[in-house]
Symmetry: C2
Subunit: 220 residues, 2 copies
DNA sequence: CGCCCATCAGTGACATTGTCACCCAAAACG
DNA sequence: CGTTTTGGGTGACAATGTCACTGATGGGCG
């Protein structure tokens, strides 16, 4: 069940068989159901997470209760924010929620230290993971500080839809993705609808004209 | 001149003498004048930076020409964004500007790899640096997405003033700090002035009532 | 089935922030 | 000096955020 670890983790920096074997020998496997909190301000893990299967949504919430999605951790990636929080013992208010049922590999800190020091490939993998998240956050800052809401919403709709045509989501959900208020999403969506780009019903959005949406998402 | 390296770099994780010696033996020292670009989209270094003296301002700019300050690198800290960019070969538009004359220690990548693998203390230092920046960026996201401009401006004025009473800066500069437009800063500053919190003259802001400013900065 | 209730979405009024097109004043510089 | 550059003020409007509502929908249950 864990045999294809190497393939899974090739996304950023492939881990050779030897490293894989070592990792598995010291790691623990955990399963969490969709909706579970993987980590959060009140739930700081003392171990490192490597996501084997599923998807984690990492978001940050304000005191006033608004929320914004920072990035998603996909299968084969590592969740470095937990590491960051362990090391820099500062307050933060990001949390990771399992979007699907997940399977993760948990590496106790001592084992992590050993692997990092002894395995070049593992080290590269970890640094790449950190770097990726830094870049992700730069993107979020850019979007929030300089982006326009209709553009960001169009982007997000296309991303959430993937190959499908319909998205099962609420306006409030989309607002939480983008860090804005529901009313703002409602306004823009009703505008999109008037222009024939989407169709809406309760808890469901259908992308009618993906081409036009993509034109909007590409900054225009 | 470089003897007190250890003390300098104790902020995050002290580097013992042995590590210091190794580092110095493989590193190069560079000097840059205030205002020089340390790194940027068109200027991706292939080495790691450790700031020995001075201060670097890391900011991101939008296509439209607006700008926001992400964080500052102080003496004794490392500038991991360059590392991140080297590893994750993605487009980004952050740049680092020397705010003062700076002295930096430049470590070629192979030497960096060797040190990371062989020196526990150095590894801790690097991970702590990454973590610190991730946390910094979380804070920026929080501010931009959920913060109010008057609060953010009051914070920044106090931070920029430090112990002093006056800040030599322009409205445009403050706008670039916070990622907004000059007009917005002008409006809020003239409001602060009406309320007797500050006094202004061309290129200069005096904090008249720091206590009241701090009340505003503390989210009220 | 038909009613109840929680959730989801729509609306109008208003505050804050961003954008644009200007103007004016102060310093910089010959 | 006068001219140029730079910093700052202003009014109108657009976009976004906030508030206090109302109406609509669908699931659960008697």
């Amino acid at each position: 069940m864990i045999e294809d670890w190497t393939e899974r983790f090739q996304g950023t920096a492939a881990l050779p068989r030897a490293v894989r074997d070592r990792l598995i020998s010291v790691a623990r496997i955990i399963h969490l159901g969709a909706g579970a909190q993987v980590f959060g301000p009140t739930n700081v893990p003392d171990s490192l997470f490597f996501l084997y299967d599923g998807r984690i949504r990492v978001s940050q919430s304000s005191e006033a209760g608004r929320e914004i999605v920072l990035y998603r951790v996909d299968a084969g990636e590592s969740c470095v924010l937990t590491t960051a929080c362990m090391l820099a013992e500062e307050a933060y208010n990001a949390e990771g929620i399992a979007e699907t049922n997940i399977t993760a590999i948990v590496l106790p800190k001592p084992a992590f230290d050993r692997l990092v020091s002894e395995e070049e490939a593992f080290r590269k993998f970890v640094f790449a993971a950190y770097s990726r998240r830094l870049i992700d956050l730069l993107r979020v800052v850019d979007d929030v500080a300089f982006g326009h809401m209709d553009v960001r919403l169009a982007e997000r709709l296309l991303a959430l839809a993937g190959d499908h045509k319909e998205i099962p989501t609420t306006h409030q959900n989309l607002a939480s993705e983008l860090g804005t208020a529901r009313e703002v999403i409602s306004r823009i969506l009703s505008d999109f609808q008037k222009r024939g780009l989407i169709a809406q019903s309760r808890g469901r959005i259908a992308l009618v004209d993906k081409v036009a949406l993509r034109r909007i998402a590409e900054a225009g």
